[in-house]
Amino acid sequence: MKFKTSLAGWALVAGCTIAGTAAAAPPTPEMISFACAGCHGTNGGSAGLTMPSLASQSKASIVDAMKKFKSGERPSTVMGRLAKGYNDAEFAAMGEFFSKQKFHPTTQVVDAAKAKKGADLQEANCSRCHLDDGKDGKDDTPVMASQWLEYLKMQAELYDSGKRKMPKDMADKWNKLSKEDREALLHFYASVK
């Protein structure tokens, strides 16, 4: 097949404008949530050590986190600025999208002894809200399982410094744990697949 083009033909088009598309529908849950993946990974499965996975989080936990970022109740870097760009319906759309995504297991190096100790601590202290080894959560409790250890440690520091506010039920348990026990719990959650 021979291809030959005419400059006149190209030139003709250069001055023309193609008409715009007909009226578009408002953003869908996919349209809103795909944009988050640049930082949080495709479908919310994170490969970045300080970035949480959003995949399989409950709708309530996503909406709760976004509202707290927006109000400033939860401390953040970019999340507060971004959350201000959305309304409650859009938060709900994100929650709907990410709650439908498959759990994102990660492979990371954890201290086996700490993880084992953490498993017992989880069972004794946390399992009423952090269900199924942290793979699920009651109400707006987030999925902890397989989150990156570095991310979990950053959040624990925010809690311990008082910058991030803990729900009362959690504070009652967490504040009674030693520094070592807290760390063991994080190793446990990071290890769950």
């Binding site: 291809f3 400059l7 030139a11 193609i18 715009g20 408002p26 993946a37 870097t77 971004l82 760009g85």
Partner: protein, 441 residues
Amino acid sequence: MTLDRRSFIKVLGGASGLALAGCATQGGSGAAAPAPAIGKTQEILPKGSARRVVVVGGGYGGAIAAKYVRMLDKSIEVVMVERNRQFISCPFSNFYIAGITKDMNSITIGYDKLAANHGVKMVYAEVTLIDPAAKKVITTEGTLAYDRLIVSPGIDFRSEEIEGYDAKAQEAFPHAWKAGHQSTLLRNQLQAMKDGGTVIISMPLTPYRCPPGPYERSCLIAGYLKKHKPKSKLILLDANPDVVSKKPLFTKAWTTYYKDNFQYVGGKKVTQVNVAGKSVSIEGIEDFKGDVFNVIPPQRAADIAVKSGLVGEDKRWCPVDVVSFESRRHKDVHVIGDAAIAGAMPKSGYSANSQAKVCAINVVNLMNGKPTVDISGINVCYSAVSEHESVSIAAVYTVKDGAIIAVPNSGGISPADFSLTKAEHAYGESWLRNILTEMST
């Protein structure tokens, strides 16, 4: 097929249902375009019964568009054409240039997993021309037919606006504004420079790829000099009258960390380079002498977009529909990323990623006869102000009155007290890991 003027009009007009009357008189504008390069003419991957999207370019925009079209509709065949087997990211290449990272491994990805995981067909070739009338692209390996085309070609330089900045001068005074060989050139020159030398960075007027990029580079190179060559200095010549991105944050970094070895000068547009004399000229009225030069030239959409008539009246950037990113020049051709005019969205890697998804959703909807969906986009961009500290800008985008705008009262830059720079540095690294993983798996 021979494409003459008449059949071109017929095909385009027939497909789009548009009357082209009135356009013919503007025909002169295309005559200045370079003659189309001719690639191989045999068809590669002949199109079967499946509908096909061809994606041109496997960068921050293209790789994501290819992946998301497949994620959204497996019945659509996706072929991605990319000239390189590996992609090297511009974001984070400043760490390599400034000697902080040893190599480019952490910013280099391949496409094997993307292809295997999503069934994206890879063609490693250079696209030499797009033929929107015949709905095919001509590449160095042969032609490819498409139903819809997504072009994410990135930028090329308006080198002709800097006298003497030819291919040879670009090796001597590297731009390092496309990562890879050029980054290595600049890195090596910085390392070879004797202590006491002067480094000069020059940057163009907006719009250009990565608005904060030159400022980040200035911080990291100033940091390198401070640590390794303390008697040396760095001058940033900005063609813009003032800092155009994250101004309070870069100003703070310059005045607190680099006040002894760095100088910012606004309103200095480099118009000539003198490689032998080791100087650059500002509009013939002022010369700056130095030892190492990083000349970032003014930019436009990549050559393929210009050659294929996708750029607008400015001859530089590609006008697109703000919902589907369909070209306003050619039907069934979509343009995303740095090459596109996307309203308030900056020319950044994250913008390209976000636009690719908006485009993929709407390309699939259009191919399936469904209504298009308005954009909801994001940009998040981290800039290092030192080896261990970063700052950010973030925004959410929507469409209003036919234009892409940032959602009012949202977004913005990091706090100016640098209270979050360590955390943001860590988040920046995760940004890189996640966005490159998105593109490569």
